[in-house]
Symmetry: C2
Subunit: 712 residues, 2 copies
């Protein structure tokens, strides 16, 4: 039987002996999967499930190689399987004493010593009632297959059960990255490691480590020790730690591409070594964010000598073929203020800073080549003066990416995947590095290598990073891995809910972290009132927050905005309910605060009309009942003083919602003036308050419109 | 104005400029405190609070010593103060550039290099509007004072505010311990460290580290490497790690007393070195728990040579004056099965194993003395053959402790503080090492050194340890620190709620850990239904669970029982509500399932009758409404199958509760037969199910009795 992957159907694990609510909900979706009858059931013996793993290389059993990466991964898989299957799995990677192993992993070769863009990541997973077979060309493919296997397993009737299935899988894009800025706020080592664990679940394969920026230089250099002794404020990674991260990532099939931003965003370098800067007198690391006023000094030869030494040293730590030179946001303010540099530009006939930056990049290129590296940088490095073997990372958008491809440059897309824009999983998921209607020809299309999710750190710290990154990054990771045609949003959200719990299992704090922050905020007065508010609010976008708060390094990130998450489950749930009640109503395009409604209203798995009405009634009642407690909490808790308008509005919105629901349900007309008042409230509530916004306004608006329609 | 500590009055922080709900809720309660008018307010300058700390030694400013313990502690205090005060504190421990520091810490001396029982832990904290002064004889006292200061601070109207107050504080008992068993289940290093952080908050001063038992030997010995290479199953602490823990503890004013259990509970030693055992053929570490069948070999001289070498080595790692030899549960099964040992006993005229154990301990004594150690052991080591300078740790109860004191032995109480008994904070708090009605004379009373909270690990793992230990341990820690007269239970619970959040701030996972386990258990089906059930259930006692589950090393600790906590807030809250509605009703003594109601029904801060009725109605309604979802969850989730009866009962109890409330509120008589049916339901629901029990049954019983009374 063929498994419908991209429709709205989720298959229950019907082959299992006992009934189970467990559903097959893979994420990312594989390229191809065929469900068969029956299942592989590992029944406990004396209370222990004997789930055994055997290895083979090219058909020869047990031939493990010196590289223990695959063995370690299998161990980790069994530890997690142990939890999924009720904790009674006897972990054995030596195969059974006799007979067939539960799982045989056959891998042709270890994979590249330094993983490249061309690493074979495909795998085939075949589960039959007699056993499971995982076949892959490389360890990397096999590790992806183990992640898939973990998502298939469930605990049914005391046994560990895998549905019979054949999965043939390979990624759509070769570059599936995640970028983390550790300069503007530092992230300690455990954060990096659990981020890599989450990336492995998501089948992402590039960790792009933004290691330097104006606010701090985070990588220890022994040749240039002042980069961290002066330029880091004490927060940096030692060389040993960076090697540790590279090894940790490789063990999970992940490349590490370091970024050292130049010639702009380099205040920390210049504070440490003024002789490579454009002449500004830098006295301290900047505590504010934004576009800096100083750059590295392109005319001076000693700048390149310095960079040659530095890049050589870093190349000994980061073996990846790519070296990210940043290159973004370099208006050349420092250059233009320096008469020597201006004179140089004049001599060379450079019209402005972009030409000087292109010159700088041209000089950088042979240095990188000498150290065996290919250049990657942000949009701004794109210049006809540079050869075609550089890679452009587009933060300006799909158009910019396509423009690069048309000029023959390889590129990766990042613009739609900026997590601090606080967009929904659906919005990011639908953005495609190569949309179905792309105008690029086949050759140009091959130049689009993939994309990267980006997490900038102006408004981020170790306590909020997990909840900003996850689970939304899973949605983008699926975009990079799965077929282009995979665009079913309700099914996406349903799988996200389950995958989010899987992320907890590998150690991410994206759920517990914000909960703890909220407990800390609310104290003992009315914690439940804050929980309710938090469940229906999300952070405003980076730029809205930046504008209002002027975030700097001293701003503590411990307010409501830091304790709520983008696109919380309530948005989808309410939209689904409203759809069941008033599905015929369409919001006018460009209506107020409706950024998230185009295309991502759930259409599958709908609640019945009765269920939806009951659920909405309960929500609206809870909002009204909650209002006095929330108001008291806002008034008496200093860090929550600014949520007072939200407390009032949420109560009022609950009242309006309940009224609208009554009109719709009873098919009675609202009284004169009601719709105008409801509309005014919606407009008022659409303002950002306390750096958060309500997630559900389009749903209320839809109900109000439906009520009005009844009145006509 | 005198601050009433032990009544039901909690003072709001009235001196603050703006109104605030923050209350002074110190835990443990200090020996003496006098509130004064006004407050110390640190107002931000350019968005930064300049909270400065200066140091003095014996009146001379700035005289810090080579030992940086105090400086480090002040740094940690400022990091935490930073969060309390809204995150905008400029951390400075160098004092202000000019003028008076916000806080001056004056300490006479560093404190003992190896902290002893007699370390001076007292401190005085004087907060006036002009500044705060913390005075102590030693660093240890000053560190306790800093913990108190942190509890005073709050964030009011944008400023960091401390109420004006004079606190003169010192502990009631000198030995305030916490014991952790790391043998039956191993606990990794981060768990130990965050436990020590929690102990510092609680002002506990002894970490008793139960490092060996039958199931595993957890301390690396270089002289006897097989103790861990064979006897640990791979899970142990290296010597470097143990030294790290000793230093970490000392930095927080905490002694580390290692325990190596002998001559019983020593299967792991004997597996590693059969030549010191009583002759049983041990082939593997035990995977079940209970009283072992093998002991160390007392007749053989080589046993003492071994122990001399081992204790000498451990003395180089653990500098504390005390060395815990265990000594519990040694029935001598192995001894009596060995003809050579029996012959030895006969020659010596020993009537049975207790005499042989006393002989063993007598031989141990000079070895300990040679290495500068005093002996401490469990009840069983008490024997007239041993001198009076040993310390008895009583796991048998207050009577046993008092009996030791009457014979002239120093002792510490542990029996009432076994966390795995799953008793309420109130029950443990009321148990006193020296009750008000003690029959010991003044001299005997000085022999009672204090007590220890004990966390045994048969049913514990790294994911559950925090929620088993905290916050209940805070209640016992207060018993050890604060005056005997401090017995106000509602006030205890009120302070516990706040202190529990403080523990999160130092890194404990006692709230987020069980939440995450529950999410893992419930998956995406009806997580909210499980939350409701979890909020009104608690684990059964150790022995009930042991009897039912026969816990062994393979049992996974990931069921509902592991995801709920003893004495959850709902118990107190419901008891308080029921008291407001039916306070005149007294449950019959010895009634079913009423272990927690004697004396600990809230009497202060009562809700009004109307509030209580509304709150109870809402609870009872939620239980009924929740029942179908909970039932579905139980049926479709393998690891929750066994909660099905709870799902049914909770719905029924909600119905009966709501009915009883109606009868009481409307003063109408219940129909004939109603009371009998309600009683039958209560009896049925009082059975342990799925290793948990309902927390609220006495409250329902009280309501039912009140309803019956209306009928008469």
């Amino acid at each position: 039987m063929q498994w419908r992957f991209f429709g709205s159907v989720v298959l229950a694990c019907v082959g299992a002996a006992a009934a189970s609510a467990q559903q097959i909900a893979l994420m990312p979706m594989p390229a191809s999967a065929k469900r068969a009858d029956g299942s592989l059931t590992v029944t406990p013996v004396h209370g222990l499930s004997h789930f055994t793993v055997a290895f083979a290389r090219n058909g020869a059993p047990g031939a493990l190689t010196a590289d223990t990466r695959l063995l370690d991964a299998a161990h980790r898989m069994l530890v997690r399987l142990d939890r999924t299957c009720g904790g009674d799995v006897l972990r054995s990677v030596n195969g059974p004493a006799s007979g067939r192993a539960t799982l045989t992993i056959e891998v042709a070769r270890e994979g590249e010593a330094v993983q490249s863009l061309d690493e074979d990541e495909s795998y085939k997973l075949d589960v039959t009632p007699a056993g499971a077979q995982l076949t892959a060309a490389t360890d990397v493919g096999a590790m992806h297959g183990m992640e898939t296997l973990l998502q298939l397993a469930s605990h049914v009737g005391g046994a560990c059960v895998l549905p019979a299935i054949t999965i043939d899988d390979a990624p759509r894009f070769r570059w599936r990255g995640f970028m983390l800025d550790v300069s503007r706020h530092f992230e300690p080592l455990p954060v990096i490691k659990r981020t890599l664990d989450g990336m492995a679940v998501a089948k992402l394969n590039v960790f792009h480590w933004h290691l330097s920026d104006d606010q701090g230089f985070r990588a220890e250099s022994r040749r240039f020790p002042r980069l961290t002794s002066v330029g880091s404020g004490g927060l940096f990674y030692t060389q040993e730690q960076m090697r540790d991260i590279v090894a940790y990532a490789r063990a999970r099939g992940i490349r590490v591409v370091p970024e050292f931003d130049m010639p702009g965003h380099s205040t920390s370098w210049i504070l440490a070594y003024p002789e490579i800067g454009s002449g500004e007198d830098i006295r301290a690391l900047p505590t504010t964010f934004g576009i800096p006023v100083a750059e590295l000094d392109p005319p001076r030869e000693s700048t390149y000598k310095f960079l040659d030494g530095f890049i050589g040293e870093m190349s000994g730590i980061f073996p990846d073929a790519y070296f990210h030179i940043g290159g973004d946001e370099t208006p050349g303010t420092g250059w233009m203020a320096n008469s020597r540099i201006r004179a140089f530009m004049q001599r060379r006939g450079f019209a402005g800073p972009p030409e000087l930056q292109a010159y700088f990049n041209q000089r950088l290129l042979p240095i990188l080549e000498r150290h065996g590296k290919r250049m990657i940088g942000w949009d701004e490095i794109l210049n006809p003066a540079l050869p075609k073997d550089i890679v452009i990372q587009s933060w300006r958008g799909e158009e910019s990416l396509a423009a690069g491809a048309r000029q023959g440059y390889e590129g990766i897309l990042s613009a739609p995947y900026y997590l601090d824009a606080q967009k929904s999983s659906a919005q990011m998921f639908l953005a495609d590095p190569l949309p179905a209607d792309t105008k690029l020809d086949a050759g140009q299309q091959t130049l689009v290598l993939g994309g990267e999710v980006c997490m900038w750190a102006e408004q981020l710290d170790p306590e909020t990073v997990d909840s900003r990154v996850w689970p939304r990054t899973l949605a983008v990771a699926e975009r990079f891995w799965s077929p282009q045609s995979n665009r079913d949003l309700p099914y996406l959200y349903q799988r996200l809910r389950r995958a989010s719990l899987e992320l907890e299992d590998v150690g991410l704090l994206h759920i517990s972290g914000p909960q703890q922050l909220r407990r800390n905020l609310a104290g003992t007065l009315h914690p439940e009132a804050l929980e309710l508010l938090a469940s229906v609010t999300e952070p405003v976008s980076f730029s809205d927050r930046e504008e209002e708060q002027h975030t700097d390094a001293y701003n503590s990130l411990d307010r409501l905005v830091d304790a709520v998450v983008a696109d919380p489950p309530s948005r989808q749930a309410m939209a689904g309910d409203v759809d069941a009640v008033a599905g015929d109503v369409r919001l006018p395009a460009g209506g107020k605060d409706s950024p998230d409604t185009s295309g991502d209203v759930p259409e599958g798995f709908p609640p019945t009309r009765g269920e939806a009405i009951a659920d909405l009634e309960e929500r609206f009642f809870a909002w009204q009942r909650n209002a006095p407690a929330l108001l008291q909490l806002a008034r008496e808790t200093p860090r929550l003083n600014d949520i007072e308008p939200l407390a009032v509005e949420l109560g009022e919105l609950g009242a309006v919602g309940a009224q609208a629901l009554t009109f719709v349900d009873t098919r009675t007309a609202p009284p004169p003036g009601w719709a105008e008042r409801a509309d005014a409230l919606l407009t008022r509530s659409a303002h950002n308050t306390a750096l958060v916004r309500f997630t559900f306004l389009p749903s209320i608006e839809k109900l109000v419109l439906a009520a009005e329609a009844r009145g006509r």
